[in-house]
Amino acid sequence: MAAPSVSCGAAVPYRLFLAGRVSFAREQGLWKAAASGLQTGTRCQILRLKHSPAVTTTKNVAALRRESYTVDFIKKQIEEFNIGKRHLANMMGEDPETFTQEDVDRAITYLFPSGLFEKRARPIMKHPEEIFPKQRAVQWGEDGRPFHFLFYTGKQSYYSLMHEAYGKVLHAEERQDQLRAKGLFSEKSKSKDLIGSRWLIKEELEEMLVEKLSDQDYAQFIRLLERLSALPCDAAEEEFVGRFRRTVTVQSKKHLIEPLQYDEQGMAFSTGQGKRKTANAEAVVYGHGSGKIEINGVDYLLYFPVTQDREQLMFPFHFLDRLGKHDVTCTVSGGGRSSQAGAIRLAMSRALCSFITEDEVEWMRQAGLLTTDPRVREPRRERIYPKRKGGAPRQIFWGLGARWEVERTKIPPQGQQSCRAEAEPGCGRWADNQDEELGSPATHRPGRDHRCYPGADDSSVDTRLQIRARGGGLTCLGCTGRLTSSGNRHLLWAARSLDAETWHVSIGGTVHFHPRQGAGPSLTVTASHLRTQQAS
C-alpha cells in the first residue's frame, strides 16, 4: 500500500488516519461488530470498507459487483499466503527461508500443469497485494465528516501531493534567495542521473495514488516536479523527487553474448540464429577467413543474384570493418529472397557479437542489426456490406485471424494407412525445399474417403482429432467450397501449431495434416469444420 509518506505534515494520508481511527474505534468496542463480516446495522455499515466510485465508460457488470475487502481479510490472506509458501517450499524440498516468488511460480507450474492458452487463467500463487485490487478505505468518519481536508476536491491524494510538492518548491526557492543574498549561491548545474531514470508514467502514478487522473493532471504534476528538481534541493527533497522516478534499464545488458567456441583445428567460431517473416536462418561465423559466405552449400553470389540481398549480407561486416576477415556458413529455410537475406543478416550479426567488444555490440544494436524485425504480412480483410443500408460491414479475416482448436471425438476405427509426404497440387511444404523434389511417388494415393486416423495401429485408441477454427471470423473455403492457393496460408499456421510437417488437400475439400516421422497422430479437417462464423 504505497501511500504518500508524511513529510511536512501538510497532508495526512487517509490510510494512516483511518488506521488510527480504526484502532481508536476498536478500543471503543465498536469495530468488533464490523470486523466479523458484513453487518446490517446502520452504524456498522458506515465502518464497512467500500470501494471508491470508479468512473467507467463501459458497463462492466462484473466490475460493478466487485467485492469489498476488509483490512482484516487482507491481513488474513497475507498470513495464509506466507504459511502456504512455507508449505510449498517443504513440498518441493527447498529451504522455506529462501523461497522466492520465482521459486513459487516454478513450483506451481510443476504441481499444476495447465494447457490453457490464456496465461492469466492458469493457477497462480502470488502475494495478496497483487491479487486483490487496491481499494480505498472509507474516507469519512462516523459523523459523516471526511478525514482529509481536500476530500471535496474529488482527487484528494493528487491535490495533497501537488500541495506538498508546491510547498517544497517554495521552500527551495526561499533557500535559493537566502543563498543569493548571502552571496553563497553558485550557478553550477547539478549532475543528475537524468538518463538512468525516468518519471513515473500516468498509470503508475494512478496506481500509487489509487485515484484516476487526467492527462492534464499528470502533465501538471510532472512539470512541478521538474521545476523542483531544477532548483537546489536538500536531501529530503531529493528523496521526495526520487520517489517518482523509476530506473531505466540499459538495453544492451539484455543481450547474452555467447563465448567463442573452438573446433578440432583450433579455429574459433560462433553460431547465431536469425528470423525474418517466415524465414529462419542459422549462421556459423569463423574467426579467420577470406570473406567467403556459403548458404545451404551454395556460394552467396549464386544463391542471391540480387545486389540488394548481397548488400544486406555485407552490412554487418562492413559496419565493423571486418569485410573479408571472416568465413560464414549458413543454412536458411522459409520465406522469400529478401526475408532470407534479412534472417541471415540477423544470424550473422548475432554470431559476430562473440568476436567484438561490448562497445561494438552496442553500436550494432543502435544500428538496428541485432533487432528481430517484427513486421509480418498483414491479414487480408474483406468487408461484406449488408443488403440494407445502415449496417456496419461484416469483416472476414483470412489467415492470421483463426484460432485452431483440437477436439477429440470417438469414432470407430476404419482402415489405416501410413501417411507420408504427398506431392500434389495444393500440397504445402515449408520445410527445406531442396531435400525432396515435388512429384516423388507416394505410397498410397489419397482418395475421396481417405482418412488418416491417429493410433489406428492400436485399436484401443479410436479417436479422431477434428479441428475447428474458432473466433477471428475465418472463412477459408469461401463460397466455392474449394481451397484456393491464397487460402493456404491459414493452413500453414494451423499445421504449424499442430506440429505437422505437411498437409494435403483431397478432392472432397478435406485437409489432412501429416506429422513428422513418428512424431504423433495425423489429423483430418473436414470442410464443414473449416467454415466458421464470420466476425460481426
Binding site: F117, E118, K119, R120, L194, I195, G196, V248, T249, V250, Q251, S252, K254, K275, K277, T278, V306, T307, Q308, E311, Q312, M314, F315, H318, F319, S338, A341, G342, L346, E362, W363, R365, Q366, A367, G368, L369, T371, T372, D373, P374, R375, V376, E378, P379, R381, Q395, F397, L400, G401, A402, R403, G471, G472, W493, R496, S497, A535
Partner: protein, 275 residues
C-alpha cells in the same frame, strides 16, 4: 502464432497513426494488445486490434491511416558508421547526452534497403522506390543503374569531343548530375486548393523541403513515362531529362516555372491561407 515474429524483443503493441478527416493533423496513440487477450489468441490480436481501433476512432471522427508493429518507444536506427567512430573527447555535451540516452532506448531493425555502404544514396533510393511498379524493386534498381550509366556515357562522349578549356566545365559524375538536376527541378512555392464560399481556389503556399523533393522526383518520373517515344526505353529518356534539367532547361524545369507563374498570378488569394 508462435513463430511469426512474436519472439523475444518483439514489441507486443501496435502503434497507430490517425489523421483528421479534413486536415492533415496526425495523432499518435498506442493500444496495447494485452487488452484483447480474453477472447483471441496471439495471432488474432493484430487483426482484432484494428477492429477495435476502427470502432473507437469512428466515434472521434478520426480515420486510421497507418499502424506499425513497433511501439512508439522504438527509435529509428542510426546506420552511419562515422557517428560511432567519433572519439568521445570530441563530442559536445548534447552529443554525449544523446549517446547516453540512446543506450536506454529500444531500436527498430534496420530496413532491408539500408546499409552502411558508401555507394548508398538516400536520394537515389527514394527515386528508385518512386519509379518502382508493383513491388518490382529489381527492375527499378536496374533501370536506375542503367540511367546513371547512360548519363555517364553521354557526359564522357561530350568530354572527349570538347576542347581542353571546355573539358574542365563538363561534369562527369552521374551522382552530382542527378542531385543537381533534381535540385533545379524543385519548386519554391506551390498551390493548394482551399475551399472558401463553396469554391475551390488555388492558393499559393510555401512548400516544405520534403514536399519539394517529392514534387521534383514525381514530375521527372511522370514526364519520362508519358512523353516518351514509343520505342525509347526509360533509362535513355530519363538520362536525357536529367541532363536537360541539369542545364536548367527541359520540360520539367518548364513545369516548375509554370507552377511559379500560377502562384504569382494567384498572389491575391494568399490571405486565404491560415497556417
Amino acid at each position: 502464432m508462435r513463430g511469426d515474429g512474436w519472439g523475444e524483443g518483439s514489441p507486443n503493441r501496435a502503434f497507430i497513426m490517425f489523421r483528421l478527416l479534413q486536415g492533415k493533423v496526425l495523432f499518435f496513440t498506442s493500444l496495447s494488445l494485452d487488452y484483447f487477450h480474453l477472447k483471441h489468441s496471439a495471432c488474432a490480436k493484430q487483426s482484432l486490434l484494428l477492429e477495435y481501433t476502427v470502432k473507437i476512432l469512428k466515434l472521434c471522427g478520426l480515420t486510421q491511416v497507418r499502424w506499425s508493429r513497433y511501439g512508439p518507444e522504438y527509435q529509428d536506427p542510426q546506420i552511419d558508421k562515422e557517428y560511432y567512430r567519433k572519439p568521445l573527447a570530441q563530442l559536445t555535451e548534447e552529443e554525449t547526452y544523446e549517446r547516453e540516452l540512446r543506450k536506454t532506448q529500444v531500436i527498430k531493425a534496420a530496413p532491408a534497403t539500408k546499409t552502411s555502404s558508401v555507394f548508398e544514396d538516400p536520394v537515389i533510393s527514394k527515386f528508385t522506390n518512386m519509379m518502382m511498379k508493383g513491388g518490382n524493386k529489381i527492375l527499378a534498381r536496374s533501370l536506375m543503374t542503367q540511367t546513371l550509366e547512360a548519363v555517364k556515357r553521354k557526359q564522357f562522349e561530350k568530354y572527349h569531343a570538347a576542347s581542353a578549356e571546355e573539358q574542365a566545365t563538363v561534369e562527369r559524375n552521374p551522382y552530382t548530375i542527378f542531385h543537381q538536376a533534381l535540385k533545379n527541378c524543385e519548386p519554391v512555392i506551390g498551390l493548394v486548393p482551399i475551399l472558401k464560399g463553396g469554391h475551390f481556389y488555388q492558393v499559393p503556399v510555401p512548400l516544405a523541403e520534403r514536399r519539394r523533393r517529392f514534387l521534383a522526383m514525381k514530375w521527372m518520373i511522370t514526364e519520362c513515362r508519358e512523353k516518351k517515344p514509343r520505342r525509347m526505353l526509360m533509362p535513355e529518356k530519363l538520362s536525357q531529362e536529367l541532363l536537360e534539367a541539369f542545364c536548367n532547361r527541359g520540360p520539367v524545369i518548364k513545369r516548375k516555372h509554370d507552377m511559379h507563374k500560377m502562384a504569382e498570378a494567384n498572389r491575391a488569394l494568399a490571405h486565404y491561407r491560415w497556417w
